[in-house]
């Protein structure tokens, strides 16, 4: 059985190889590509490189990507912050894949993340049998990245406890991990760096200390505000998902447009023409959420509908997505349907009728 999801370096192997083959600019030590080639890989290129078309991985501000790359070439780590679903992890994965050739050295930050996940732990059977030895040592992704001179990724830093964040400080400033049991100090090889992500909605859960912040350069990944841009992102990613999972039918363009108009209006709290105020739901209405709603409705249409995505499927997936956290969000959505969708024509009418049934229950 093939993997559900390939890591970026595998999925885009031919793009990366073509870029590397045609990259004649100087590469920072330990980098697989030059900064300029990394930029091309992330933002895509209108003309194929070495016959391979380079697809855009991130649609948006070029200077944001440049700041990321310039940071990673320095001794500071990169912190991507932003609302949930703004492609922070996606960006981190692609940057690591392009620069280090692997995006797999990853630590997922949770309340349960311990220092072992950051440094090393032991294979206890071996440890008991042989005592501390290099074989018995189980290095963490960060330690492996240091040894290999590659990028480590640390997701959701603010979810981890202050103690873990503190131990991150010493790793980032000394670039060393000492293993007293072996009487050994592992120093990071050139090419090591760390990309962390943090969620602005989690701010205050475990606020980062000033000392930790100083080890990072911060890049805020913005919520996409341009409708056309967001439609482009969502359509592209949804098609990829359908391809990966081999399910679903392509939704019509007008429905993607409708969905994203709705998302942007709910997010902003006002309609596109600026005339009607709408209530903003508490649930996160990210681009990622829009992708999932669209993908979901395309599966619904294929499996349980008429093989064509209609506003009925969209309404069904939408309600599930928007109404997650609070009951209040039902009201916000209902209000939106009553005040905005109702007055519009075409698929909006159908969406209104479909959602009316769902929301009443």
């Amino acid at each position: 059985m093939p993997d559900i999801r390939l890591p970026a370096e595998a999925k885009y192997r031919n793009e990366l190889e073509a870029l590397a083959a045609h990259d004649d600019r100087p590469r920072p030590p330990g980098w697989a590509l030059s900064p300029r080639a990394v930029e091309t890989y992330i933002l895509g290129s209108p003309k194929p490189v070495g016959g391979v078309p380079i697809t855009p991985k991130y649609v948006g501000d070029k200077s944001l990507i440049q700041v990321c790359i310039a940071t990673l070439a320095s001794d500071r780590a990169l912190m991507l912050v932003g609302e949930p679903g703004t492609a922070k992890s996606w960006l981190s994965e692609h940057l690591s894949a392009a620069i280090s050739g692997t995006s797999a050295l990853i630590v997922q930050g949770t309340a349960g993340t311990s220092e072992d996940h950051l440094k090393y732990s032991w294979n206890y059977a071996l440890l008991l049998a042989q005592g501390p030895s290099a074989e018995a040592l189980v290095p963490s992704p960060v330690l492996r990245a240091m040894r290999l001179g590659k990028f480590a990724r640390f997701e959701e830093v603010t979810r981890t406890s202050p103690e873990i964040q503190d131990s991150l400080i010493s790793i980032l400033s000394e670039k060393q991990v000492s293993i007293p049991e072996l009487g050994e100090v592992v120093s990071a090889q050139r090419g090591f760096n760390l990309i962390a992500t943090a969620n602005t909605r989690d701010r205050g859960v475990n606020e980062m200390s000033a000392a930790l912040k100083r080890r990072f350069n911060f890049v805020t990944v913005p919520v996409v505000e341009d409708l056309e841009q967001e439609i482009q992102i969502v359509t592209k990613r949804e098609a990829e998902l359908r391809n990966d999972y081999q399910v679903g039918v392509p939704p019509p363009e007008e429905l993607s447009r409708l969905l994203l108009t709705l998302f942007q209006e709910l997010r902003k709290g006002v309609t596109k023409d600026g005339k009607t105020k709408v209530r903003t739901p508490g649930a996160v209405l990210s681009t990622a959420e829009a992708i999932s709603v669209l993908f979901n409705s395309s599966i619904l249409a294929e499996q349980f509908g008429g093989g064509k995505v209609t506003p009925n499927e969209l309404a069904a997936s939408l309600v599930g997505a928007v109404v997650k956290e609070q009951e209040d969000d039902v009201k916000a959505l209902r209000e939106y349907m009553e005040t905005v969708a109702k007055g519009r024509t075409g698929p909006w009418k159908e969406l209104y009728t479909a959602s009316k049934k769902l929301l009443r229950g």
């Binding site: 930029e39 310039a70 990072f216 805020t220």
Partner: protein, 818 residues
């Protein structure tokens, strides 16, 4: 005229306000060592070169040219220390070379502006032309237009420049393009930049022209090549006329016996390119219009204004940053580092952490970004991005809120004392210094207590500036009541104030206005008097005359106080407009109460009191007639009635009995608009002229079923305008109301709904509560109300939710019905 000689003089192309050009130019001058330096700038300002180069003059400063024939109109030619033209003048002064301006005189360029403003009416953009300031300035010197904004020696009034086009010379070329070829959409320079992957022309300019350490040999051809790109499109005729003029001036210098190789000409790149291409037609000069009479002077200028000019050719995005680069001889890396250190200081001052290592990292990041973008040094874009990523931890709000201001800078220039200030400027600065008022180009707030002569004097001074239309200070409040509705700066409100809060900011337009206003008088008092006299002769109504009277008192202009009083008297005799008379009566009553002492008027307060009495009497005569008005005029009448009531009660000289009689008549009359009757009833009740039962009776009668519901609703509207709280507290009044409302049948109810809604919508929460309480009591709903209250107080969510579900269902049903 031998135009071929032109190519034998030394020509140096510049872009205005470009530190790199300045650095290169100075080195070039050192090498060429000319004896005569000719600079693009109005030739009639050549006499000011000494002032500009004086030790006591500190840029930014600007040459101000203004009309002297009484028609307002002016233009500015600003210079920063890093402007190449300024550096050339300074160099000439230091080496004792002769320095002159060679462009067309101010009078001619003002005339060209005016003609174009007329001629361009068909062009859609002419309306927003920033550069039209030359004439726009005239109309409203108080507004920003007065800054005149134009590049030295150039006619940047072209709107086409607004979208950020800045020619190599900061000047004509790009706007020619936008002007004539591609109507406004994207000037050639912006398109050029975008095609090369830059975000704006400014970014391209910084990357390609400012940052590299050019030598004079390399820089000249690059600038000229750029000018050629821009000149490729059709050029505006006007520049050709100017070039003919400038060429003649240059050749005259050569003809006077100076060898051509000892002459250096510093002009915009587009002009120099034309000179070099021998593309000058001497005959074109005759097409320049006749100049208007003008004078020139030098006034201080400021960095914020220079930054404002960005967009049409003659400014900088960040003058302070460029100043730093200039001081570092064009080293933009150093400028970046200095600004980052400044930023860290600002952040620390506001309590944020910003360590030295952050600054270093920001600097490193800026360099790395510049490197990635193949720029030889960081520019403003890299500076900004690096600051956000490091010092600001990804949050751009600090940069926008306060950091960016420091790359713009707030420096204000100084002009050597040897140049005479006119008497208005002198008075302004004397007063500002003596009264310790703000003198910087950033807004400052302060307040005045009007209980001593000194601060009253300051207030008079500021009000005079306001009335004279000299932009400097604006009233931000009356001190004590914060958050109160903003008051009018002058008029009745000003009389009653004990404190005034002002916000003041000097801008170059302050000085521009001071220079221009000299035609109206030599002192501020004279100017204000003149302005007020003009307003007085334009005043048609008593109210307008009374307004002038108030302004005269507030601005301490005794002359106009006397004439405004006479005008009030004369207008009141023939005025038949109640609102106007009422407003005049209030103004006069205010003067009787608070005195005219600010104005030291000779007429004395007794004259005012007599006039107040008379005007009030005249107003009373109009009450009934005015109250029988059409529905659309009733708002003004109601306002007037309230004003009269207020005056009658507050002012002992007013005929109180007369007013009360009038009010009673209004109350009883059915011929007048019902809202006025309602208002009269309310006012009388409030003045304790009617008892509660009288009111209830009256309201009941007015709202009885025999009366048209529309009339009833209008009555109610007037009635509730008066202190509604007192009214809704009266149970009897509420009962009459309730009976009226429940008596209206459904069809009529719908018709009267808008008026009712207006009447009741004005009630605040407290009033509503009393109203509800009384309704409950009248209808004896006490018991049921208790039950409702029980539900409300019970924190039983289920029951509440049940209710809201029911309500939701009801709403849905209503939806279906509609």
């Amino acid at each position: 005229m031998d135009l071929a000689l032109l190519s034998r003089v030394h020509l140096f192309p510049v872009r205005h306000h470009s530190p790199r050009t300045t650095a290169v130019l100075v080195r070039w001058l050192e090498r060429v060592r000319p004896e005569v330096v000719l600079v693009e700038g109005p030739c009639d300002a050549s006499g000011l070169v000494d002032v500009l180069c004086d030790e006591g003059t500190k840029p930014p400063v600007a040459i101000l040219g203004y009309r002297t024939d009484g028609t307002p109109g002016s233009a500015l030619w600003p210079f920063a220390e890093y402007s190449p033209e300024y550096a050339a003048l300074r160099w000439a002064k230091a080496t004792k070379a002769r320095a002159e301006f060679i462009d067309i005189p101010v009078g001619v360029s003002l005339e060209v502006d005016r003609e174009e403003a007329h001629g361009e009416e068909e062009a859609p953009e002419s309306g927003v032309t920033p550069g039209e300031s030359a004439s726009g300035n005239a109309k409203a010197p108080g507004t920003g237009t007065a800054t005149g904004k134009r590049a030295p020696g150039n006619v940047s009034r072209k709107p086409a420049k607004a979208p950020g086009a800045v020619a190599a010379t900061g000047e004509p070329a790009p706007d020619d393009e936008a002007q004539e070829s591609d109507v406004w959409e994207e000037p050639i320079s912006e398109r050029f930049a975008r095609e090369r992957g830059y975000r704006s022309f400014e970014e391209l300019w910084e990357a390609l022209f400012e940052a590299p350490a050019w030598t004079p040999e390399d820089f000249r051809p690059v600038l000229l090549a750029w000018a050629d790109v821009l000149n490729a499109g059709p050029r505006r005729e006007y520049h050709r006329w100017r070039e003919a003029f400038m060429a003649r001036r240059v050749l005259e210098v050569v003809a006077s016996g100076v060898p051509p190789e000892k002459v250096a000409v510093i002009a915009g790149a587009a002009h120099v390119a034309a000179f070099l291409a021998n593309d000058v037609d001497a005959a074109q000069e005759s097409r320049l219009p006749e100049g208007v009479p003008c004078a020139v002077t030098v006034i201080p200028y400021s960095f914020p204004r220079l930054a404002e000019q960005l967009g049409y050719g003659a400014g900088n995005r960040a003058p302070h940053f460029y100043q730093k680069a200039h001081e570092a001889q064009g080293d933009f890396r150093r400028a970046t580092l200095e600004v980052l250190i400044d930023f860290a200081g600002h952040l620390r001052m506001r309590g944020f952490t910003a360590s030295l290592s952050d600054v270093l990292e920001a600097y490193r990041l800026a360099l790395a970004l510049a490197d990635m973008r193949e720029k030889s040094a960081p520019g403003l874009d890299e500076l900004r991005e690096a600051t956000v990523a490091t010092l600001c931890r990804g949050d751009a709000t600090h940069v926008d809120d306060f950091l960016w201001k420091s790359v713009i800078g707030h420096q204000v220039g100084r002009v050597a004392s040897r140049i005479g200030r006119n008497s208005l400027q002198a008075e302004f600065w004397r007063e500002v210094d003596a009264r310790r008022l703000p003198r910087s180009d950033s807004p400052e707030t302060f307040s005045l207590r009007l209980n001593n002569d000194v601060e009253v004097g300051s207030s008079v001074f500021l009000h005079r500036l306001r009335v004279a239309g000299i932009p400097y200070a604006s009233l931000s409040g009356a001190g004590q009541q914060r958050g109160a509705a903003p008051q009018e700066a002058g008029g009745y409100a000003a009389l009653t104030r004990v404190r005034e809060s002002w916000q003041a900011q000097w801008t170059p337009s302050t000085d521009v206005a001071l220079v221009e206003k000299i035609v109206l008088g030599d002192t501020l008092e004279a100017v204000t008097t003149r302005v007020l006299q003009e307003r007085l002769s334009a005043a048609k109504t008593t109210a307008a005359a009374a307004d002038v009277l108030l302004e005269s008192v507030i601005t301490g202009c005794p002359q106009t106080v006397a004439s405004a009083l006479r005008a009030c008297d004369a207008r009141a005799a023939t005025d038949s407009d109640l609102p106007s008379l009422a407003s005049a009566a209030r103004a006069l009553s205010g003067l009787v109460a608070y005195g005219t002492s600010r104005a030291h008027a000779e007429v004395g307060d007794e004259a005012v009191a007599v006039l107040c009495e008379k005007t009030f009497g005249r107003a009373l005569l109009r009450v009934r007639e005015a109250s029988a008005c059409a529905p659309d005029a009733v708002g003004a009448v109601l306002e007037a009635l309230r004003t009269l009531h207020e005056v009658a009660l507050a002012q002992p000289r007013a005929d109180k009995a007369g007013w009360l009689a009038e009010a009673r008549a209004l109350m009883e009359s059915h011929a007048v608009h019902p809202a006025t009757s309602g208002l009269a009833t309310g006012l009388l009740y409030l003045a304790r002229e009617l008892s509660e039962s009288d009111v209830a009776l009256e309201v009941g009668r007015r709202l009885s079923l025999a009366v048209e519901p529309e009339a009833g609703a209008a009555y109610l509207e007037g009635f509730l305008q008066v202190n509604a709280l007192v009214l809704v507290k009266s149970r009897e009044v509420v009962k009459a109301l309730d009976d009226f409302l429940s008596g209206v049948d459904a069809e009529r109810f719908r018709q009267t709904l808008p008026v009712l809604r207006r009447a009741l919508g004005a009630l605040g929460p407290t009033e509503r509560r009393y109203l509800m309480e009384n309704v409950v009591a009248v209808r004896q709903l006490g018991a049921r109300a208790h039950a409702v209250k029980g539900v409300l107080e019970e924190k039983d969510k289920e029951r509440l939710e049940g209710m809201s579900a029911e309500l939701g269902k009801a709403l849905d049903d209503l939806d279906d019905l509609l």
